[in-house]
């Protein structure tokens, strides 16, 4: 099968530091693919390797099945929405969006018509004559999106495009981006450090840590079957139980992750249960988070806030979870 983007043992080093270290990756045609990771994990460098702003120190980057490792950015059929939007300040909105068409030599009338069309697609008709400086952050974002899409690239790269927006607008843009991607069928590669953003929008997510990929999977699989302690911890919150406690509770060696929402108060048949002292109760809206100290470590439980009487801090409680709620982590390599 031909992939939209493929990384073949790609390494990018700066001096002695490997920003991207031996990454293999295959992004499918037409999928919404996220690269998730903390800052400095190599996700943005990977994006820049696809765009052509960075060249691999070794390995190959394939776009559309063709080795693009040495191609300059302007010879790659991928476009980028930049974190700071990078709109050209000397041009108005219409000229910005028409820019890639002008470079291609599309006649004036046609390129402005197509730019108008792209602006309508992001609900910005009527803003054509404005300068970027006269737009709000959300509007600039849409212009950047229209400009990157007007040339119908094979792949659209998005570098934390929602980072500068406030929460409401961000949630709205997440929905619109997803809808746009479905409508156009273009492959989206989306870089973010926000795990909830990655989970809610993506077909698949690659989790990055220290220049390597920890796991590539669907959001559901990432959440329910994290491949490593890092993923369990970074995607959602997780309680990781290991060592003697894990063995006493289950009779098995190793480490397992248990999601806070799978933990309940009380004792149930067939469930694993453990006693501990409540150290903290936090109201989070739909749920309460209860931190319980068990054998010198903390377990965090999320309890629906509408029905239950919350335990007092300092009291002893019993925690329980179904046996199959625990996900055993693979032995650390």
């Amino acid at each position: 099968m031909k992939h939209a983007v493929e990384f073949d043992r790609v390494r990018r080093s700066y001096g002695a530091v490997n920003a991207v270290d031996d990454v293999n990756l295959a992004i499918r045609e037409g999928e919404f693919f996220s690269m998730l990771g903390p800052s400095g994990s190599g996700k943005t460098t990977c994006l820049r390797l696809i765009a052509g702003f960075e060249l691999p120190s070794s390995g190959r980057v394939l776009i559309d099945g063709v080795d693009a490792s040495r191609l300059p950015p302007f010879e790659r059929n991928v476009n980028t929405v930049f974190q700071d939007y990078a709109l050209f300040p000397t041009m108005n909105v219409l000229e910005n969006v028409a820019y890639p068409l002008m470079i291609k030599g599309v006649a004036k009338r046609e390129r402005y018509a197509r730019a108008e069309e792209a602006l309508a697609m992001v609900a910005l008709d009527g803003f054509a004559a404005r300068k970027p400086g006269q737009l709000s952050g959300g509007q600039r974002q849409r212009v950047a999106l229209a400009r990157a899409l007007v040339g119908r690239p094979r792949v659209l790269l998005l570098d934390e495009p929602l980072g500068a927006l406030d929460l409401k607008l961000r949630e709205q843009m997440q929905g619109e981006l997803k809808a746009l991607q479905r409508q156009l069928g273009i492959t989206f590669v989306f870089v973010t450090h926000d795990q909830s953003e990655a989970l809610s929008m993506s077909d698949r997510v690659a989790v990055f840590a220290r220049g390597r990929i920890e796991q590539v999977d669907t959001p559901q699989a990432l959440y329910s079957q994290p491949a490593s302690r890092f993923v369990a911890d970074f995607v959602g919150t997780s309680n990781v139980v290991d060592g003697a406690l894990a063995e006493t509770l289950t009779g098995r060696r190793g480490a397992f992750a248990i999601r806070p929402e799978r933990i309940r108060l009380g004792r149930f048949d067939g469930a694993i249960s453990v006693r501990g002292v409540v150290r903290e109760v936090a109201f989070l809206g739909p749920v309460n988070r209860v931190d319980v100290e068990v054998a010198g470590r903390y377990l965090s439980a999320q309890l629906p806030s509408f029905s239950l009487q919350m335990p007092e801090v300092g009291t002893e409680v019993e925690l329980a979870w179904e046996r199959d709620a625990a996900h055993w982590l693979p032995e650390a390599a």
Binding site: F53, F74, N79, T80, F82, A86, F88, I103, A148
Partner: protein
């Protein structure tokens, strides 16, 4: 409302300083209209526009102005090209010796003109170049380049790198990116740098003295006038014109770049 009053002594000193700086210029202006011919006598004898007529009738003045305008225009054009290229080369890339080259580029403006002049004269002799228009233009370009370079570098520093990346990403090669994205952003700083360079070249005399050969630029003509006391009023008229020609572009350059933090090159 509380307001800080400046002590009167300080105000007096400040106005005194300004007066000291500008009084001689006012004297020149006043005596350009004075009826008396030879000396700066006081009080003024009477008002006349006679000297303007005299000045405009003289071929040597006209020639000197032509030479100066030509030199300034050519030196500015040369500086715009070289200064912009130097700024582009030095602003982005980090390479070995970058700081050294930057220093060498800015040095001509810090160096006393007399040293630049002597050095150029020697260099031209070695190169067997006859002093003339070309040598004056090259001499002036040495400091005009710095002015343009400083202005362009300051602007480039505030140009986000992502703009050029965006341009390349959207299909433009390096030259197209320069032409459509970088150059329009530089427009005002080029205009400002060019105006300053023009003004500096127009009234430069030290380097010119060494490199002019037989050519007479306006400042050289004026220097020569010192030996002719009877021509003083005419010289005053020309001085006024020079003031006008050099002040307007400098004000223009200030106006164009006043919203930027660092308009560089007002140092000479």
């Amino acid at each position: 409302m509380h307001s800080e009053r400046t002590p009167w002594a300080l105000r007096l000193a400040a106005y005194g300083g300004l007066a000291f700086l500008h009084f001689p210029i006012l004297v020149i202006f006043a005596y350009a209209f004075n009826t008396e011919e030879s000396a700066f006598s006081f009080p003024l004898q009477g008002f006349t526009l006679h000297w303007f007529a005299d000045a405009f009738a003289r071929q040597d003045i006209f020639d000197a102005i032509t030479v100066s305008l030509k030199v300034a225009a050519e030196a500015t054009a040369l500086a715009l090209v070289l200064g912009t290229l130097a700024a582009l080369a030095l602003s982005r890339r980090d390479f070995c010796g970058k700081n050294g080259i930057t220093l060498l580029l800015i040095l001509p403006i810090a160096l006393p003109g007399i040293i630049t002049g002597i050095a150029l004269l020697n260099a031209f002799k070695v190169a067997a170049l006859e002093p003339g228009m070309l040598t004056i233009v090259v001499g002036h370009a040495t400091f005009c380049v710095v002015i343009v370079y400083n202005n362009v570098v300051a602007r480039l520093r505030r140009l986000p790198a992502s703009l050029i990346e965006a341009s390349m990403d959207l299909g433009a090669d390096s030259f197209q990116s320069f032409r459509h994205v970088v150059l329009p952003s530089l427009a005002t700083s080029l205009l400002a740098g060019g105006m300053l360079a023009f003004a500096l070249s127009f009234d430069e005399i030290i380097v010119t003295t060494f490199t002019a050969g037989h050519e007479v630029t306006l400042p050289i003509w004026m220097l020569n006038q010192l030996g002719r006391p009877r021509d003083v009023p005419v010289t005053n008229v020309v001085a006024m014109l020079v003031m006008a020609v050099t002040t307007l572009p400098i004000l223009g350059a200030w106006y164009l770049t006043r919203d930027t933090t660092d308009t560089a090159g007002s140092g000479k």
